[in-house]
Amino acid sequence: MSVIVFADTRGEKVAKAALETLTYGRKVAAGSGSTVTLVTFGDVPADRLAALGADKVVVARAASDADSQQLTRLVADVAQQENAQVIVFAHDATGKAVAPRVAARLKAGHVAGAITLPDTSSGFRVKRNVFSGKAQAWVDVTSPVKVISVLPNSIPVEAGSGSATVADYTGDLGAARVTVKGTRKEGEGIPLPEAEIVVSAGRGMKGPENWGLVEELARELHAATACSRPVADMHWRPHHEHVGQTGVAIRPNCYIAIGISGAIQHLAGVNGSKVIAVINKDPEAPFFKAADYGIVGDAFEVLPKLIEAAKKLNAER
């Protein structure tokens, strides 16, 4: 019996989402006396893979993450060889493409966006976010194989260690039917879905030319920048920065909103944040009701004070 963890381990260092998935998989395995097999892909050094805390690692060196069919064959094949009961993914860009395919292929019930470990006291029950974080739902999975996609920032990472055996996958993944033709870097800084701290701004900034203050605060706090829907719709900021119900949903540790009124659709994308600070000149802005900290004031007066305080904090630590 085993737990399969699929994770993207590429990059300068292993992404937080991958470490969360591994932590989740180890906890599921510990609860059921199983072993953990990490399934991954790409040109990642074997010694790094061996030390991530899995019992065993299978790596498909040639698989492309753009082709969900190749990754699906890979995960489904290893899962069948290992007689896996539970397969864990991150509910991120790659996980969203591959996990549902694996579930359909193996006729496994799939919990997308899980925020708790499974409750196995009677059956197999997992809690997930629904209504863009405005509610949560308990899902019973009744199929023999279960697929779980873990919502990023839902469980704290516990560092793994060990010296797992690392084997190259030798099965046939088929030809890639989706191929990458190129990539374009979209701005500098930290990718929004992974950010621990997010500085976000709205129409209260009056125009795109004033974003320098927002970016400066984000830099000082090592934060990602985000924006509200009107700001993205007016092309003041790129679409990938739009957080909210119809943009990106995020759940950072700290969300600082400047000049955003806090419409229900915006709240839906950020209400999973651990701490919310709201700066708005309108004391009646609905966002204050969802906030932990609030400042009623003009963005152009408040932001320089925040930047100054952040610089002071950085100098002290």
């Binding site: 860009a93 966006g113 739902a137 019973d140 990718p191 119809t246």
Partner: protein, 246 residues
């Protein structure tokens, strides 16, 4: 080109979220239902643009009861040629995907478009599951899509990067913001939608793999702590020493 667009019905984005029957079901009382924004604004409108530019037909498919027909007519009013409703009450995304795949299997669709997720269940599951059940390639989270001949080119926003990918038709694509602009149906479209074909097809048998058993609302927030604007710097201090998040 034959295009299929997956349409789901969801509560309006401003609807109150409440539950009934001992928190086992969504309380739809007084709630306005709409076409899932990702399905409508991005998948349907981009599908229409491609059809208008290159010719062909656009069919929508919805899995649900007769109560979804007003929403389906909205998609017809925006410009779909015909609609299909598969008469089932699915328990999870797999059940939706099995119905859609069973319908689409031998119809020869070149392009199947879905929203990247629904705003109620947020699963992002149906598109890739349909792709798997039909053994088709899948492009997820596309923010731009073009078709030249039988080749699709798409852009995806992933990990702070824009990725440009290519695949041959037939293909399933999940659509995200950026792909198209919302279209408001005009009076002619609304009139025409009344007489466009809306075919109801029976469901195929499907195994149950999972089901939602109970809903919960998140715990209420603590009262907000206000900081005077002239002491704004104190916010950074509190986030560091009290909340310990920076």
């Amino acid at each position: 080109m034959k295009i299929l667009v997956l349409i789901s019905q969801v509560p309006d984005t401003t609807a109150r979220i409440a539950f009934t029957n001992d928190n086992t079901a969504y309380d739809a009382g007084g709630v306005q239902f709409i076409v899932n924004p990702y399905d409508e604004w991005y998948a349907l409108v981009r599908g229409l643009e491609l059809k208008e530019a290159q010719g062909g037909t656009l069919t929508t498919v919805t899995v649900g009861g007769a109560d979804t027909e007003a929403t389906i007519r909205k998609a017809l009013a925006i410009g779909a040629d015909e609609a299909v409703r598969i008469d089932a009450q699915p328990n999870d995304s797999y059940e939706v995907a099995v119905q859609v795949a069973a319908y689409a299997k031998d119809k020869g669709f070149d392009l199947i478009l879905a929203g990247k997720e629904t705003i109620d269940h947020n699963g992002s599951q149906v598109g890739p599951m349909v792709a798997e059940l039909l053994d088709l390639p899948f492009i997820s989270l596309a923010s731009k899509l073009d078709i030249a001949g039988t080749t699709a080119t798409a852009e995806r926003d992933v990990k702070g990067e824009l990725e440009i990918v290519e695949a041959a038709l037939p293909l399933v694509v999940s659509c995200a913001k950026g792909m198209a602009e919302q279209r408001i149906p005009n009076m002619r479209g609304i009139m025409a939608a009344r007489t466009k074909p809306l075919q109801v097809v029976p469901a195929v048998p499907v195994d149950r793999l999972s089901a939602t058993v109970r809903f919960e609302l998140p715990p209420p927030k603590q009262a907000v702590k206000m900081i005077p604007a002239d002491e704004a710097g104190k916010l950074i201090e509190l986030l560091h020493t009290e909340a310990k998040v920076i």
